[in-house]
């Protein structure tokens, strides 16, 4: 297993370097070295350090956060199709962002804040619905509440877009497809802080996830209070998802696919699954972002579309191996 992990880390390093070197403007290896050590052409410097580096860093963090979030939700909800957006996060974030854009407040900082706030509000609504039903942490009730909130959010978005000016509608659509195009170091720092706090906490709680994955009764028998622990885990996973939305819009498929890849590599124990999900997620998103900005350069493909296109064949091959 350490061999596999080492290979993964290596893959991540290679794809990250490639992402720094490749793009519509090519920067060869020597130039890249000079950017780091000094003495490079200022244009190359600007491109690598100001345009690509924050993008790659943000991609790393987004991938790690989504991978871990997906892994946590799949374990806590006992559902292999769970993903970070399940508990209303995507709908809430989109409503927040579209509201802001329709109101003309399309400034990127405000947009991030609006998306983040929308996401968290939706999560609390979903948990509230579950609580009101009397079955607080029952996965099925949560999933249904998530679907309901998502449907409502979609309706709200359609109404908003129908009455919004053309620019706002286009901007909203772009945002909902996910992009790292406007990555800045400030975004990297924000997501970095969230991940630095929530990530290790999730690794610490990984054993509780193992217990929860056996069922709530069995988890209780192993000393894990199922409802309180589940709630804590849902919130942590949704917080990570909301933080990535604030930074990069809605990037789909990563949180669904990556934990499965991780499990196929290192088994089902969640400490390993979460850590490897972070690694695999980072690699996937850095690679997808690289593809998004080079495949049809100088135009940029939406990141969410690329992750889906890359993810689907992966998923199919996993399914085949699982039979």
């Amino acid at each position: 297993m350490t061999l596999r992990v080492t290979l993964l880390v290596l893959a991540l390093v290679v794809v990250s370097l490639a992402a720094l070197a490749l793009g519509p403007v090519s920067v060869d290896a020597r130039e890249l070295w000079r950017v780091v050590t000094g003495g490079a052409d200022p244009v190359s410097r600007a491109i690598v350090l100001d345009v690509r580096a924050p993008r790659v860093a943000l991609a790393l963090l987004v991938g790690a956060a989504l991978g871990m979030s997906g892994g946590v939700l799949q374990g806590a909800l006992r559902n292999p199709l769970a993903e970070p957006w399940l508990l209303g996060v995507s709908g809430g974030a989109a409503v927040g962002a579209v509201l802001a854009m329709s109101a003309g407040l399309g400034d990127p900082s405000f947009l991030s804040l609006a998306a983040f706030a929308g996401a968290l509000a939706a999560v609390f609504v979903v948990l509230g619905i579950a609580r009101a039903s009397g079955l607080r942490a029952d996965p099925r009730v949560l999933l249904m509440a998530g679907v309901v909130v998502g449907a409502f959010a979609n309706a709200a978005i359609m109404v908003l877009l129908a009455t919004a000016p053309a620019e706002a509608a286009r901007g909203a659509l772009w945002w909902m497809m996910g992009s790292l195009g406007s990555a800045q170091w400030r975004d990297v720092a924000r997501l970095g802080v969230v991940l630095a706090i929530v990530g290790p906490a999730l690794l610490h709680w990984a054993r509780d996830l193992d217990a929860l994955a056996l069922g709530h009764d069995a988890a209780a028998a192993l000393g894990v209070a199922p409802e309180a622990t589940s709630r804590r885990l849902y919130l942590a996973a949704s917080l990570l998802a909301a933080a990535t939305v604030a930074a990069a819009g809605l990037v789909g498929f990563v949180g669904l696919l990556v934990p499965h890849i991780a499990r196929s590599l290192v088994g089902s124990r969640h400490r390993a699954v979460l850590a490897v999900s972070a690694l695999v997620g980072s690699t996937l998103v850095v690679g997808a972002d690289l593809a998004a900005r080079t495949t049809r350069a100088p135009a940029e493909l939406p990141l969410g579309a690329v992750t889906a296109m890359v993810g689907v064949p992966f998923f199919l091959s996993l399914l085949r191996r699982m039979r």
Binding site: G75, R78, H204, A220, G223, V224, G267, S268, R269
Partner: protein, 263 residues
């Protein structure tokens, strides 16, 4: 020992109580069986212990201490429970599954020698050694049941409570499981087995508690409880209780209501 003291439970939203004033003690060194028809509240006893459903009144006491003040983790350290339904959402290595029995005792990171010893001894007792490298989704129903037993034994608790431990087991494994429970009791644990297998219970239990509609209908030795008139009333089915000297315990045989058609 573990003592249910005047425990009443009502499920949220239900009109009738699932348990009313249930009291009994399961002593160390003994196998205490809880029997009764479907819906009599047997599983509710276990769920109440695990706090999956709140107690309306009463308390559960372990070795003199009221469990109400304990955290879920502390409870798991003192009482091991094998629940009725358990299925890993993602297949895991069987050896890892048994090791989870040590979770209530160990810190989040790392393991210790005591744990390894406990796991090894549990594996040996439950006879699951050759299953350890296989994954949980590859096991048969009976193998999975035994693995779960091993996990509970690895918890090294004074009390072990099992809810229907012999489902999916064939005759040989059923007997082996109950012999294991008797052995655990002999070694000093308090064993509580919720079971609908009256004939196995009569062979292995020291104390039988018969539940009927959430109330203790009878409690005592198997001879005292397994009597036709008591059981017929509770199970609402005609039956015969015989005593075969070769077996040494009462045997319950339900009678057919509809005659066998002539061959």
């Amino acid at each position: 020992m573990i003592h249910w003291d005047d425990v009443s439970v009502r499920y949220p939203g239900a009109t009738a109580q699932a348990l009313t004033g249930v009291s009994f003690t399961a002593a160390r060194g003994a196998v205490t069986a809880v029997v009764g028809p479907n819906g009599s509240g047997k599983s509710t006893l276990v769920r109440g212990l695990l706090r999956r459903v709140p107690l309306l009144s009463g308390r559960i006491v372990v070795d003199g201490a009221d469990t109400v003040a304990w955290t879920q983790r502390e409870l798991a350290q003192r009482v091991a429970v094998v629940v009725q339904r358990e299925e890993p959402a993602f297949p895991m290595r069987s050896g890892d599954y048994v090791a989870m029995g040590r979770a209530p005792h160990t810190a989040a990171w790392g393991s210790d020698a005591r744990s390894t010893a406990a796991i090894d001894s549990a594996v040996a007792m439950a006879g699951v050694g050759e299953l350890l490298d296989r994954h949980t989704d590859e096991l048969s129903g009976g193998e999975w049941q035994r693995l779960r037993l091993a996990r509970a034994i690895a918890q090294e608790s004074d009390v072990i409570v099992l809810d229907e431990p012999t489902t999916f087991l064939d005759i040989a494994h059923e007997m082996a499981a109950f012999e294991l429970l008797a052995d655990l009791a002999r070694r000093g644990r308090a064993v509580v087995a919720v079971s609908h297998q009256l004939n196995l219970v009569s062979r292995f239990a020291n104390v039988v508690v018969l539940l009927h509609r959430g109330v203790v209908a009878a409690a005592g030795t198997p001879d005292e409880v397994m009597q036709a008139r008591i059981l017929e009333e509770v199970y609402e089915w005609p039956l015969v209780v015989s005593r075969d000297p070769a077996i040494g315990a009462p045997t319950l045989v339900p009678l057919r209501r509809t005659p066998r058609p002539p061959t």
